[in-house]
């Protein structure tokens, strides 16, 4: 019998377990566990869902149900090293948010929600990022790109950037 290679590393399991005392049951660890895996792998493949379910004593369908609700954790393949959320809600839209998104997709040759072929950049439309005082804005990994023009945004997205926490 060939041992199946685990997706969740010992480090990931330890990180998830370290949060367990905070909650009276293990199901509440679902979102934290998804975040732990996503932060490492930039996606949460189905195999990881099964392993998280095993770890938490849940059915895989329960974890998958929660995961799919948020439409936040990619499953098929990792998102780009930089995941850029371009705000399209009202305050940003009034200051050119939709045009900003269109420009960036065009400049990088991808559709919204797409990733560049080199795996470096994913561009996604986002609802209100809560930085309307800096509209139009982008959240690129952990960095808020404030009051962007299309040109400035493209230059920002070409810079190297720390990974999301």
């Amino acid at each position: 019998m060939i041992a199946r290679k685990k997706i969740l590393t010992d480090e990931m399991v330890a990180k998830i377990e370290s949060l367990a005392p905070r909650y009276p049951n293990r199901r509440a660890l679902t979102l934290p566990a998804l975040h732990v895996v996503y932060a490492e792998l930039r996606h949460v493949p189905l195999e990881a869902v099964v392993e998280i379910a095993e770890l938490l004593g849940l059915a895989p369908a329960e974890v998958q149900d929660t995961l799919s609700f948020y439409q936040f954790f990619p499953q098929e393949k990792p998102c780009g090293q930089v995941r850029a959320f371009v705000c399209r809600s009202v305050s940003c839209a009034l200051r050119g948010g939709d045009q900003l998104l269109e420009h960036l997709c065009h400049a990088n040759g991808i559709e919204p929600y797409g990733t560049t072929p080199d795996g470096r950049l994913t561009i996604e439309p986002a609802e209100c990022l809560g930085a309307c005082d800096f509209a139009p804005c982008i959240l690129a990994n952990d960095d808020l790109l404030a009051s962007m023009t299309p040109e400035a945004a493209q230059a920002e997205l070409e810079k190297p950037r720390g990974r999301a926490t």
């Binding site: 905070r22 936040f72 439309p125 809560g130 309307c132």
Partner: protein, 451 residues
């Protein structure tokens, strides 16, 4: 009007204002020591109740009264959930508080937990606020190290743990029972009430859900007193026994077409015009406002002639808006198409409807499809009546949904079409000269981008 000194925002612009040392130097945490040493939980409830503090998250319910709904002599645990899922378009006041003065929020959490006898507080933070996450975690670590959190706080019998819990970019998690479901590890489908969270909430235990700014207000009331809080804002209307008044300072978020967007603290009851002119430097580029959102997109629209409406809890409702909401004021200038505005609003709600209740799931989705068709030059005047019908039939108020998301989706539709019907009709007639009068059903367009 006497000049008003910001209190909730006093740390903004202060070097290292987010640190424990700065907060203590400004008088922070002294009220906690005093409260734990001298007061009973019931005293704190009474203090907050008599201050007239109403929740800052959007619904404006009396905070102290909410606390009294908890069962008496419950063996515990009782939970406090702090709602930091701030996602209402136009709103960022909680972000400013958490980034620039996280200890003010934590002090409010300690006092509120003491009042409600909660020994665990979860702060549910939206994913999009990584800086808030870092600042809050650092502040919580500092508070533990200094003995303001943890076991037997400052030698008292009161213990409290505060945990950050991170969301995953869903608007519905700001609805208090959606937040609870999400925290429990499930999809964030709001619960049917009753039972209200105070009776059966997080992990089926009595739970209070309060907003971040509400927590900051509790800290300030403890520091400065009930009389101070009640001296600010709009007193209760003596002719309306159901009006509890609008007391205290409020953080107004100003954005859109203004010269100086930002978060401004003002007494409850400032008018939209004052806010735009005195704080925001006026409508940008010397233009005029066509419409203004009074408190987040869910609240609907005020016209230019309605801008002298006071932004207290009762004000926006008097001009047909849903309410004060999050007090996020978004200015739309006279060069902007109201059709584009409504399309944006419908797209937001179609994306964020959780899908649990059919009237909301279908109503938000079809209103977006209709706006797409209108924008594609295939609108008909009849569409405006159908949109109105959707607006009138989805939501808690008509009684067709579990939570208020659909009311928030309905209000921009209702307000925009009622207050700007002429512009919609002109647009439809101009862009669809041969078909605007058709009343037979027409097929929807294929749309992309709602999800």
């Amino acid at each position: 009007m006497p000049s008003f000194k910001p209190v909730l925002l006093e740390a903004v612009g202060v070097p290292d204002g987010h640190t424990l040392a700065s907060y203590v130097a400004r008088g922070g945490y002294a009220p906690v020591a005093k409260t734990l040493g001298e007061k009973q939980p019931a005293d704190v409830v009474e203090m907050v109740k008599s201050s007239g503090l109403r929740g800052r998250g959007g619904a404006g319910f009396s905070t102290g009264l909410k606390w009294t709904f908890l069962p008496k002599d419950h063996p515990g645990p009782i939970y406090l959930c702090v709602n930091a899922d701030e996602s209402e378009p136009g709103t960022f006041n909680n972000r400013i508080l958490m980034e620039d003065d996280p200890h003010q929020v934590i002090e409010g959490i300690i006092l509120s937990s003491y009042a409600t006898r909660a020994s665990t507080a979860y702060l549910y933070l939206r994913y999009e606020y990584p800086k808030s996450w870092q600042r809050l975690q650092a502040a919580i670590d500092e508070a533990y190290a200094a003995g303001w959190l943890g076991k037997n706080i400052k030698g008292s019998s009161f213990s409290l743990d505060v945990y950050l819990h991170r969301g995953a970019a869903a608007y519905i998690c700001g609805e208090e029972t959606g937040l609870i479901e999400s925290l429990e590890g499930k999809r964030a489908w709001p619960r049917i009430k009753p039972p209200f969270p105070a009776i059966e909430g997080l992990f089926r235990k009595p739970t209070v859900v309060n907003n971040v700014e509400t927590m900051a207000c509790v800290a300030q009331i403890a520091r400065r007193g009930v009389e101070w809080f009640k001296s600010i804002g709009v007193p209760a209307d003596p002719n309306n026994p159901r009006d509890p008044g609008s007391y205290g300072p409020k953080l107004y978020c100003l954005s859109g077409h203004v010269e100086r967007p930002g978060c401004y603290e003002a007494p409850l009851g400032i008018t939209a015009r004052q806010l735009i002119e005195e704080h925001g430097g006026g409508v940008w580029k010397g233009r005029r406002a066509k419409a203004v959102i009074p408190g987040g997109i869910s609240m609907g629209l005020m016209t230019e002639s309605e801008l002298d409406t006071p932004l207290d809890f009762a004000g926006p409702g008097k001009v047909g808006c849903l309410g004060l909401g999050t007090a996020a004021v978004v200015v739309i200038d006279d060069q902007t198409s109201i059709v584009d505005f409504l399309h944006n609003s419908c797209r937001f709600f179609a994306h964020e409807s959780c899908g649990q209740c059919t009237p909301c799931r279908e109503g938000t989705s079809w209103s977006l499809r209709m706006l797409e068709r209108i924008k594609a030059g295939k609108g008909r005047l009849k569409d405006l009546d159908i949109l109105q019908e959707i607006g009138n039939t989805m939501g808690m108020m008509p009684g067709s949904t579990i939570c208020g998301l659909a009311d928030g989706a309905a209000w921009p539709i209702k307000n925009a079409i009622k207050k700007f019907r002429g512009e919609f009709e002109d647009y439809i007639k101009r862009t669809n000269p041969s078909g605007w009068m058709v009343t037979e059903p027409v097929p929807a367009l294929q749309i992309v981008g709602a999800h």
